[in-house]
Point group: C2
Chain length 767, copies 2
């Protein structure tokens, strides 16, 4: 991949690298939480590329492909759709189509993603096969302020003398998913429009799910010359079966420039009534057109200013780290805006197709804290409501696996609440995900203090999950304890194991939390409790008693004469190697070893026991954490992008500062430096939240206990200072960590108690 330039605010590619087009397309993706667009070229490109435009919440149930079917597998895999291409601007110069892959020479190519303002810029000079030379300056953004608007400004300058230039902006609905299982068409085009005033629009509908999506454009073209600007009229508007496009023809003298502004409206039936989706897109485009490019640009800059003012992280002394952390914060904000409970965060966001754009437990375990600390409580609440609205489907999912009486099993992978994954060891057995749903509720309430959430929405989910665990355990005569057989823990390098400690502990915690929550509701909100009992047919005495019994008698494997909690039954039968024993030629092991070899080895993919120590930090003393960290970390190969962050946080907590920094480095520039040679598939959006956790909860030592934010700074040697912002219950806090210590300032909001480096302090608003 091309080396990126270090810059605190921008991602910069400063040379033409045709071999890494796909990777750059991922890295320079832009979006606004409602839709996203890979950094494809506006003009035609015949080289290897992955054209990708994605709409939040619009999916297609692709027929499942398996080798060997198992009962309970989903028939369909809901996947995010590659949607109408709205960026296309075909360019002809003296009759030759502009195509960087076919041109005689590309010079001075530069691509720049300005993260401060959320704007993608591209400039280059190109010599065509016919000898004509032009300079191009393209700029585009997905408006954060207007979530259905995108804008492109595309300028062509003649630099080899006079020439005829034709610009054909288009809206093209003829797109496919590369990852279609059966080469099905996902879309059908319902209507196409275009006119000779520079407008066009396409209305597509998904097969099966019947989502409608529309894109419409308005364009304006000017020729700039020494004397000023002349408006150019379109010479035609043309519609094909799937695309609408316009043609602008202009004769340029040397050094003259033609500029096309393309104002795009992108709408879906999620936010507009069926039958009105295309009209809405046209209205959005028209409104943007009337607003003018300058105003839209200003709005965009202000919107991003506001985001950064809530969530910027400043690292002094390390530009590379500074760039990386901003890159992560930037993409998280581009992926999720938190104004719609039907949306969630896919592991690749809007940057690629792999993993189908669906939601995993990543959201609850890794992403939620980012949105808690960076936004009003309404934003993270949407993430919780997403699961609340899927409760019925989680109950159906559990029923497919033989559970009953309202037991709920949330899916491993989903768009709409239905399970979308079909590996039995994951789909059916990686059930710890169910506990993460409850942990997220606890986390949200602990952070926000939102006391109404539990009765309104939370308890229904807690109840369904508790019922699941209560049925999923079984009594072991030999162990005289409840056991959970046949699971896969967070460490997916073990499958179908018995008594995965993390799963057992989390399940016991869920049951305990369910019982205490139920008792609190019963006592404090008796009316609400009665409503819940009726709505969910709760057998209060019997169920609560069962939860307590199981919770208190859950088996927890432990290594004799130590504080080490064993990852699962039989763990010590394995050859007790360390990751450092592995020759580098065999790493990552998931690319070199067959699955059985990985499974019977001691090597750990990502935090498993230690994930429990991260979630339940207050349940274990420092010695126990130290002993378990020392036992497990050396066995961990960190082959999940979600692994290093948890280790960074725990290492920081243990005072292993250098180790924390090493772990942080593994996650921070994962995509920017393309460690795993897979960035061409898209970015690791959810692991970006892990990077943020490493900084804020790791180096910043941030957590909330009993309503009080606590900080404990640990500054990597390489940095002069670290500064980050935290939103907490209506206040804005600035935390600055310097070698001398940790300084917390209340930027605005009511006075507040915080704990800094172990000491309680009362903060007054800054002047």
């Amino acid at each position: 991949m091309s080396k990126l330039v270090n810059d605190p605010w921008c991602l910069i590619e400063s040379a033409w690298n045709p071999e890494s087009v796909r990777a750059s397309e991922s890295l320079f993706s832009i979006g606004n939480g409602r839709f996203g667009q890979r950094a494809n070229f506006e003009e035609h490109y015949s080289g290897d590329s992955h054209q990708g435009s994605y709409l939040a919440g619009i999916y297609y149930p692709d027929k499942t492909r398996v080798g060997w079917w198992k009962n309970g597998y989903p028939d369909y895999f809901a996947k995010v759709l590659n949607a109408t291409n709205w960026i296309s601007i075909d360019v002809h110069v003296n009759g030759e189509r502009l195509d960087l892959h076919a041109a005689r020479e590309v010079r001075h190519f530069s691509r720049l993603l300005d993260m401060r303002d959320g704007i993608l810029k591209r400039t280059f000079e190109v010599e065509l096969q016919n000898g004509a030379v032009i300079a191009v300056e393209a700029q585009r953004f997905c408006s954060m302020h207007r979530p259905e608007t995108a804008v492109i400004r595309y300028a062509v300058t003649a630099i080899s003398g006079s020439m005829e230039v034709e610009l054909c902006p288009a809206i093209d609905g003829d797109v496919k998913n590369e990852d279609s299982n059966w080469d099905d068409a996902f879309w059908k085009t319902l209507s196409v429009e275009s006119n000779s005033a520079g407008s066009a629009g396409v209305l597509n509908q998904t097969e099966k799910t019947a989502f409608e999506s529309a894109a419409a454009m308005r364009t304006s073209v000017h020729k700039l010359h020494s004397g000023g600007a002349d408006a150019i009229s379109a010479s035609s508007g043309t519609s094909s079966a799937h695309a609408g496009f316009c043609s602008f023809q202009v004769a340029l003298e040397n050094d003259e420039t033609v500029v096309l502004e393309k104002f795009v409206g992108i709408t879906t039936s999620l936010h507009h009534a069926h039958g009105q989706v295309l009209d809405a897109a046209k209205a959005v485009a028209a409104s943007a057109f009337l607003a003018t490019h300058a105003v839209l640009l200003d709005e965009q800059q202000k919107a991003w200013q506001s985001i950064w003012s809530r969530g910027d992280i400043v690292i002094d002394g390390d530009v590379s780290a500074q760039q990386a952390i901003r890159f992560n914060v930037f993409h998280l904000n581009q992926t999720y805006r938190g104004d719609d409970p039907r949306l969630n965060i896919g592991p690749k966001g809007f940057t690629g197709e792999k993993y189908g754009g669906a939601s995993y437990w990543d959201t609850e375990a890794y992403c939620l804290p980012f949105f808690l600390a960076g936004h009003e409580a309404a934003v993270p609440k949407q993430l919780l409501l997403y699961r609340y609205h899927h409760l019925g489907r989680a109950i159906e999912n559990a029923e497919k696996l033989g559970f009953s009486c309202g037991a709920a099993l949330y899916p491993m992978v989903t768009m709409n609440g239905e399970e979308c994954h079909n590996e039995w060891e994951i789909t059916f057995e990686e059930i710890h995900r169910n506990g993460a749903m409850v942990y997220a509720i606890w986390n949200y309430i602990n952070y926000t203090g939102d006391q109404t959430y539990m009765a309104d929405h939370g308890f229904a989910v807690v109840l369904g999950v508790a019922r699941f665990w209560a049925q999923r355990v079984q009594w072991s005569e030999p162990k005289q304890a409840y056991v959970i057989l046949g699971v896969t823990g967070p460490n997916e390098y073990e499958n179908n194991v018995n008594n995965n400690w993390y799963t057992n502990y989390l399940a016991a915690w869920c049951l305990h939390y369910a019982a205490s929550t139920a008792e609190a509701l019963m006592k404090n909100q008796p009316q609400e409790w009665d409503r819940l009992v009726n709505a969910y047919d709760v057998n209060a005495a019997g169920e609560i008693a069962r939860w307590k019994t199981v919770s208190s008698a859950m088996f927890q494997p432990q290594l004799e004469n130590t504080r080490v909690l064993l990852q699962q039954d039989g763990f010590m039968d394995k050859e007790q190697l360390q990751a450092s024993d592995l020759p580098s030629s065999q790493r990552p092991i998931n690319q070199h070893w067959s699955w059985d070899r990985i499974l019977r080895s001691v090597f750990i993919k990502q935090a498993d026991v230690l994930q429990g120590f991260y979630f339940f930090q207050d349940d274990f003393d420092q010695e126990t954490l130290e002993e378990n960290y020392a036992f497990y970390e050396p066995k961990t190969v960190h082959e999940s992008s979600l692994s290093p962050c948890v280790h960074a946080i725990l290492a920081a907590k243990l005072g292993r500062k250098d180790e924390a920094y090493v772990h942080y480095l593994r996650t921070a520039r994962l995509d920017l430096d393309d460690y795993n040679k897979e960035v061409y598939q898209g970015l690791h959006i959810t692991s970006m939240a892990g990077t943020w956790l490493s900084v804020v909860e790791g180096f910043g030592g941030f957590r909330v206990r009993d309503g009080i934010p606590e900080f404990k700074g640990v500054l990597p040697e390489a940095w002069r200072s670290l500064q980050f912002l935290v939103h907490f219950r209506g206040r804005q806090l600035e935390i600055r960590i310097e070698p001398a210590g940790t300084l917390v300032t209340l930027l605005h909001g009511d006075p507040l108690q915080v704990k800094v480096d172990g000491e309680l302090r009362s903060l007054q608003p800054a002047a």
Copy 2:
């Protein structure tokens, strides 16, 4: 499915059952070990049907389809091919095409498989839409005497007055596999011939593997009438892109009959040089044609007579059981003739496509004894040589999984030695199959006394497998023993378990056998030993010592204070239910439960610990067998067709006569009564060998110890007597079990000692 008529020698379907055409096509399949043919109709049939014609050893590497790829999976799945249709005879009556699906009425339909002679017969009367009524008598067989010849006799009689009849026999190479993964074409047609003398032929070649297969026909048509027979000449010979056919036109008066005899040659490049395969087929057809139908029929009857004279089983007092056991013996003989080490026994033989026609450990564990007892040693030896020739690929397979130094892992599923399966829990973990390869060598030598086999071929395989086990174990500190982690035992309702007792015991046995075999060769055949040491780079001292060490310190899980050997680590943590606790609505559990639920349940698919008790009967006393049988059988749901036979044998050994009979009944008529509603896919050929085992080793108590055949009869109450034949080292024994006892007669061969019901007897040849 239609009810079959009970008959000791025939399978009879006596009514037209259009809804069960596929099932009957499987049941009435015929073959000769070289090729096989489902009981499809000769004439056109537009209803639901599965046209299937299969050639031994001809396969296509179909591109693997998986949901989630794992390192080490095979890229291609070799599958048996649906090959050129050689039975086709299109019939037109007064211009209307004969088609039982479209006819006005089908009457007096009967299908009969004469197992004594290996002939399939079908008769029916049909009224066409045009009112014409004809009677048809079709008869065909795959010649056992001439392994490349098949013959059809097809007679049409006018019974509604005079009519014009056209017969068009064809050879049609345009066939597809229903189970093609990617809808690939498996064949391309290289040439098609036909002529107006009633001959035609097609030469096909497989894509990728470039196997050639040809089928050619010669036909003769006669009109029979009160005055005699008139030869009818073909009016034309026509070739299309994939088919060659001829047309015979004849005018029939009422009661007159036209008879077509079709002599078919079926050849492949396995037995003929490339470029000569079609010529060979034509020569075979011509030779059959010249021989005449009567002679071919006589040969067929004699060939089957010879087979039955070696392997018939006679059950007196139970026609249904008599029919069933002959059906099983018949199909086993149709599937494998033992004259080619490149061939093996697919689970469905030549009766369907499912499981790709490939070989499993079924061959070594279940089928070998049938061929040992029913044939000269040369026949079962071919089954062993099949694996010997695949040793190199077994070593490659082990290398893919990280093994080295000549360790061999035989594939779970194969056509040519390469692994064809891609479920990690089976492909990578069901490694006990490797031990079955060695057990079969022991079994063969124990039975035949063939002392040359070990040095010539056996040791290479024993060595490769021993090297695998020696690497696959690991030392457990807590257990102070060698353990085998992450396996699937014969009970596939457990995956990725640790210390499956059967696997551990079998591995230890293999290592012990390898060590003692090596030492015996060293001592008794030092020259051969030196050759082997050089050929296979044996480190004699080091390797043998390692085998002994591991073998003697292998962990064997056992239930405390009992003789019960535990199926795997942690087995007692499961809820200890019995199969009788399951409501019938949930059975078979593999059709009602999700995989995780099956895995964490106690229920056992097929003999696992008890498979070890079957293989190693002499290693355990009767009390230990009784205790393990009593522990495991009630937990066993017998959802594999290979399960009841092992239980029948052990139950008989324990004197649980009624139970043995119940188990026998579950296997004997599995296909005939279509217990699992899946006979339409093909027959369970390898489980037929299990049925034979139930009778001969179960009720007959047959085994060979120290070169002496032993019998111990146990006669089911429902039977008056049971009589079977056994071939043993050049002798033919007849064993007759009556309520009064067991009688063994030496039919021919040298005098012999046998043990009958515990007593040693000297047998002299019968008069």
